[in-house]
């Protein structure tokens, strides 16, 4: 009797597992490398919540992508490069795309994902020269790169100085990591071009203590300070700048140094602080209404729903939207809803997010339009400047979206990617 029951049990389990596998294979897997714990969690959580809410909304509203549900397993990296690589190895099977959310992890994944045939999408971060699709077939970093960011910040400073910054002093306060070091080369080239003096001020992880850095700034009195920070480094830097009475409107952070988390602890002292951005703040877009209707109102919000409409949450929405759109395009190109990772890459390379398409997706005026091509994986290269209003506790866009110095940036991208291609023996494509 017991043997019979056992056999029935095993048979039932096998049927159940095989039917699950069948469903799983048909679904589209978008693994998420997140950091909901540790020193960088305050940045990681709102961003991950944006991703999850968007995927849930697509599953609930549209029944998935072309009828295929989105699976979005999370793997906690704690913003640690080694753990991120382990997460990739664990989740790479049948994965459509990886969004590492760390430049350090992205650098490690570039050769691995290229060998495995998995798309890596580092939205506005990662290795800048990956914008060259001729060399980096599987890597995308649209809509804008760090080198664009550096030159857009300098362009903004130029504009505020009537086009002449010769002899001015610009300091870069940066996270002493692959991420923070990314803009140095561009800024060095721009300093030669425009004649400004560049001061480099690294801050070690996590950036809790920056007193000496800001004493140096107080002593050297740079005309402008740029910041490539993340996590607690941003909050301490903004507070320290306010404390030494550095003019906040001369302090510009990259788009990862411009969330509500970064300025709120400094209170009124943060008033006027600027950062670059490639997406708008706020929660009044159609996509927010849909998420509210299909996800939050049903009690399905990721986390406690408190990050809804914040800068990093909105960025998560934007990143998820591009990833979903790539799948939609891939399905159209290949005429099947059951796309493979290779088909997905084709979709990502053909993404064309025009203003009209953005509106259809509920992102009207949320971000500037961009499209990927075989040669260009770096998108439009557009970013705007936003400024913190400490009284109203909100970010205001104060410029139009603008381009960086493409002469400088494109030359540097070509140099760096050619060097990488030679090292890795990669033959250029798209010819």
């Amino acid at each position: 009797m017991r043997i019979k029951q056992l056999l029935i049990g095993i048979t039932a389990s096998v049927i159940a597992i095989s039917s699950y596998v069948e469903i799983a294979v048909a679904d589209l897997k978008f693994p998420m490398l997140v950091y909901r714990t540790g020193a960088y969690a305050p940045n990681g959580i709102p961003n991950a919540d944006g991703f999850v809410d968007y995927y849930k909304m697509i599953n609930a509203r549209d029944g998935g992508i072309g009828g295929e549900k989105i699976l979005h397993p999370e793997c906690e990296t704690g913003y640690k490069t080694q753990v991120g690589v382990e997460c990739y190895e664990k989740n790479k099977k049948d994965a459509m795309v990886f969004q590492p959310m760390s430049t350090g992890i992205t650098y490690q994944l570039i050769p691995k994902a290229t060998a495995d045939g998995v798309t890596v999408y580092s939205t506005g971060y990662g290795r800048t020269s990956a914008a060259n699709g001729k060399v980096f077939k599987w890597i995308f970093n649209a809509p804008v790169t760090y080198w664009d960011g550096a030159s857009i910040a300098v362009r903004h400073i130029l504009k505020n100085n009537l086009g002449n910054i010769k002899g001015k002093k610009i300091a870069l306060v940066y996270h002493n990591s692959a991420y923070g070091k990314e803009p140095i080369r561009t800024l060095q080239t721009l300093s030669k071009k425009h004649g400004f003096k560049l001061m480099l001020l690294p801050v070690d992880h996590p950036g809790q203590e920056q007193k000496a850095t800001w004493l140096k700034i107080r002593k050297a009195r740079p005309d402008n300070v740029l910041m490539w920070g993340w996590g607690v480094m941003n909050q301490v830097a903004v507070k320290s700048a306010a404390s030494i009475k550095f003019p906040m409107d001369k302090f510009i952070g990259i788009w990862w140094s411009g969330s509500e988390n970064d300025v709120l602890p400094a209170g009124q002292g943060a008033h006027g602080y600027k950062s670059l951005t490639f997406n708008a703040p706020g929660d009044s877009y159609q996509v927010h209404k849909d998420i509210k209707k299909y996800v939050h109102d049903k009690g399905e919000a990721s986390g406690d729903g408190s990050h809804f409409g914040t800068v990093l949450y909105n960025r998560g929405l934007f990143q998820a939207m591009v990833q979903v759109e790539a799948a939609v395009v891939a399905q159209k190109i290949h005429g099947t809803s059951k796309i493979t990772p290779a088909m997905y890459r084709d979709g990502m390379e053909a993404v064309n997010l025009s203003a009209k398409r953005m509106e259809e997706l509920g992102f009207k005026d949320f971000a500037p339009p961009f499209k990927n091509t075989c040669e260009n994986h770096g998108g439009s290269g557009l970013a705007a400047v936003q400024q913190w209003d400490a009284k109203a506790k909100k970010w205001n866009m104060i410029t139009e979206y603008m381009y960086g110095d493409s002469d400088v940036v494109q030359k540097l991208i070509a140099e760096d990617s050619s060097k990488y291609a030679a090292e890795q023996k990669i033959a250029e494509r798209c010819n």
């Binding site: 714990t37 960088y40 480099l200 996590p206 607690v232 909050q235 507070k239 406690d304």
Partner: protein, 334 residues
């Protein structure tokens, strides 16, 4: 006076002030190590947990709200709008005492007479567990901590020192963050209170007796367990003070637990068993790292000396004086 000399004095002063902030963390380590021989790796997490709890009480956050809402489908987040600072601090102190009692009951009681390395490993586990509980209890968002301590550059000092520079020199005046001045005052009060407590109270004397010799203290009827709870509660209180200071400076967030790493070189320098050592060690480390970053940082391509120079200082001290400046000399009888 030359601007260079004034800048040098400013760097030293700021180093001293930063050193006090490190000492606040190091004090908690020293107390526990003195009384129980345990190197409490969780001291940084104690500071984080205390700061999280304080903000939670201040803002009326429901503890474990996310878990409760997930399990029961409710939507509780806050049960009142705000609580006066004084009351919130008292409640946080009570929570830290309760935490000390729980740690003694659940961990230390079961590890009496174990090797120091076992107790050290237990505190590593405790650090991670407590960090997880803190996350579950209060969430991972950056929290603004304001208990009314002023912060920002001291205008008074700036104005008082601006005239010290030579005529015609372009000098701003000296900079010191008022928050650090407050931290110094609080640290001085804390050390004096601890000294008076251990010298002139019965419990304080019992505490010193346990620190000197566990067996002898037990033989005269001192309850080791009570002393351990007391010591852990006091270091919990010190962690709260450190958490308030550091949390006010950077907002309360999980990287706060990493301030423990700043206390390690302080302890190596000052000695693991000396309260004055923790203070002097902190001051030396603070001044050393600031001077190194500002005056020799530029010669290093990678820069960011501020973070690791303290460990270089500690290493040099270890080579010449392993017990630290004020630590007990290590004598092994064969």
């Amino acid at each position: 006076m030359s601007v260079e000399l004034l800048n040098f004095i400013e760097t030293v002063l700021n180093g001293l002030m930063s050193g006090v902030m490190y000492s606040l963390v190091a004090l908690g380590f020293v107390l526990i190590f003195k009384a129980s021989g345990v190197f409490n790796f969780a001291q940084g997490v104690f500071a984080l947990f205390a700061a999280l709890t304080l903000v939670g009480y201040q803002t009326g956050q429901v503890p474990f709200a996310h878990l409760i809402n997930e399990l029961f489908g409710t939507n509780y987040h806050n049960w009142y709008a705000s609580m006066p600072n004084f009351l919130a601090i008292i409640l946080t102190m009570i929570t830290m005492i309760a935490l000390a009692w729980i740690i003694e009951r659940l961990v230390l009681k079961h590890l009496v007479n174990q090797d120091p390395i076992i107790l050290f490993m237990a505190t590593i586990g405790l650090a991670f567990a407590l960090e997880g509980v803190g996350d579950l209890m209060w969430g991972s968002d950056v929290k603004v901590l304001d208990v009314g301590i002023p912060s920002g550059g001291s205008i008074w000092l700036e104005e008082a020192t601006i005239g010290l520079a030579a005529e015609g020199s372009d000098y701003y005046g000296m900079y010191i963050d008022v928050l650090n001045v407050w931290a110094t005052v609080i640290a001085v009060i804390l050390v004096i209170t601890l000294a008076l407590f251990s010298q002139y109270t019965k419990t304080g004397r019992a505490l010193r007796a346990v620190a000197d010799d566990h067996q002898a203290a037990l033989s005269v009827g001192i309850s080791l367990r009570t002393i351990w709870i007391l010591v852990w509660a006091i270091s919990g209180f010190i962690a709260m003070v450190a958490g308030i200071m550091w949390g006010t400076e950077s907002g309360v967030q999980f990287s706060l637990s990493l301030i423990a790493l700043k206390a390690l070189p302080v302890l190596i320098l000052g000695g693991f068993t000396s309260i004055p050592g923790a203070i002097i060690g902190g001051l030396l480390i603070g001044v050393g790292e600031k001077l190194a970053e500002i005056y020799i940082g530029g010669y290093f391509e990678t820069g960011a000396l501020e973070n690791w120079f303290a460990y270089v200082m500690a290493l040099v001290f270890l080579l010449f004086r392993p017990q630290g400046l004020f630590g007990d000399k290590i004598i092994e009888r064969v």
